[in-house]
Amino acid sequence: MVHEWALAEAIVLYIENQGVKRGRRLVVKTGALQSIDREVLEFALRMLIKEHGLELGEIEIVEEEPLLKCRNCGYEWRLDPSSMSQDVRESIHFLPESIYAYYRCPRCGSIDFEIVKGRGISEIRVEDHD
């Protein structure tokens, strides 16, 4: 699942673009739907941070649990990616919207639901930066 590298690059480009060069700690919030391999992501981040000449100290990756909400009946539910079949999980890992091909509202069967949270990278924060 080394496409984590691309996500790491997006994160580093983002930090750079914000004009941030150094900081004590980098906090990244990822969505559990993407089943991101934290070690791979952290490794990629360290490499890229170095490559881009940034100094960011610690890296913390926080995973956000997925929350889904039906637009038809209003029902809210959680979904544990580790309960998915390997194929489906991998599809959703790459493209969280693949979920619409495999899941329905557990209460009313609706295909019209939204990923309220836990989809992808939702926060990138550099603490004590200058």
Partner: protein
């Protein structure tokens, strides 16, 4: 977050190809998918490393034209996702490999999210010409790409010589102009060259026409047949004109 971090990575990924063509039309059924697939085929057999990206999430059909079963389309990972090699020079990405061609209905926000995810993770390095097929209309996907990737994409407007299609193209061209697109490429499909004067009048870059060829139906699903079809010589002319106009 102020901006979507995926945008920056998307720009980086799409800066590799020499030309990124965005095939658009505010009207459906004019041949966007057919034209983008054939252009990619022609580009690859002309010896250029070529990419084909299907962004019509609700109705992906490039794989049907190419005759590819969603199960055979697999992507390798290497600092991102590498598109699937269809032919020696033809690299391809479509979501059907993830959705297994199950029907999905996406609201605008989801389509926009899927778009940025794909543009951020799929790498087109070593690709010279990239052709992007889009859904009909002007929705979230088009607005996202046309604004954020303005310095990168070259819009190709496809139109047929029908009154409804032209009225719809008028609107699209107005919008592209307002967005700051000076060079708008134009392809006449299912026509006979009649739209050349229309294109000139609208200051569009007319690159050629493809006649209505009913036999195309039989070639759909077979690259071999497509490459032998009567359409091909027309697509070749258009391909060359596109390259000529976008040599920059």
């Amino acid at each position: 977050m102020i901006e979507d971090p995926r945008t920056l990575k998307a720009i980086k990924n799409l800066e590799s190809p020499r030309s990124v063509y965005l095939v658009v039309s505010s009207k459906g059924g004019v041949g966007k998918t057919t034209v983008s697939t054939l252009l990619a085929l022609v580009s690859s057999i002309e010896g250029h490393s070529t990419g084909l990206l299907d962004l019509d999430f609700v109705n992906p059909s490039t794989h049907i034209i190419l005759g590819l079963d969603p199960r055979v389309i697999k992507y390798e990972e290497e600092k991102g996702v590498k598109p699937y090699m269809v032919l020696d020079n033809l690299y391809y990405f479509t979501i059907v490999s993830y959705t297994m061609d199950n029907p999905i209905a996406l609201r605008g926000g989801d389509a926009s999210n899927a778009l940025w995810e794909i543009l951020a993770i799929v790498r087109w390095n070593n690709v010279e010409n990239l052709y992007i097929d889009t859904p009909p209309g002007i929705g979230d996907e088009h607005l996202d790409i046309l604004y954020r990737l303005r310095r990168i994409v070259k819009p190709i407007v496809v139109a047929t010589p029908s009154r409804l299609a032209l009225r719809s193209i008028d609107r699209l061209v107005d919008i592209l102009r307002e967005m700051g697109y000076g060079e708008i490429l134009f392809i006449e499909n299912m026509g006979n060259g009649l739209l050349r004067s229309y294109a000139i009048e609208k200051k569009l870059i007319y690159t050629g026409f493809i006649p209505y060829i009913s036999e195309i139906e039989e070639s759909i699903g077979s690259i071999e047949k497509l490459l032998k079809s009567d359409l091909l010589s027309y697509v070749k002319t258009i391909y060359k004109n596109l390259r000529g106009f976008t040599r920059g």
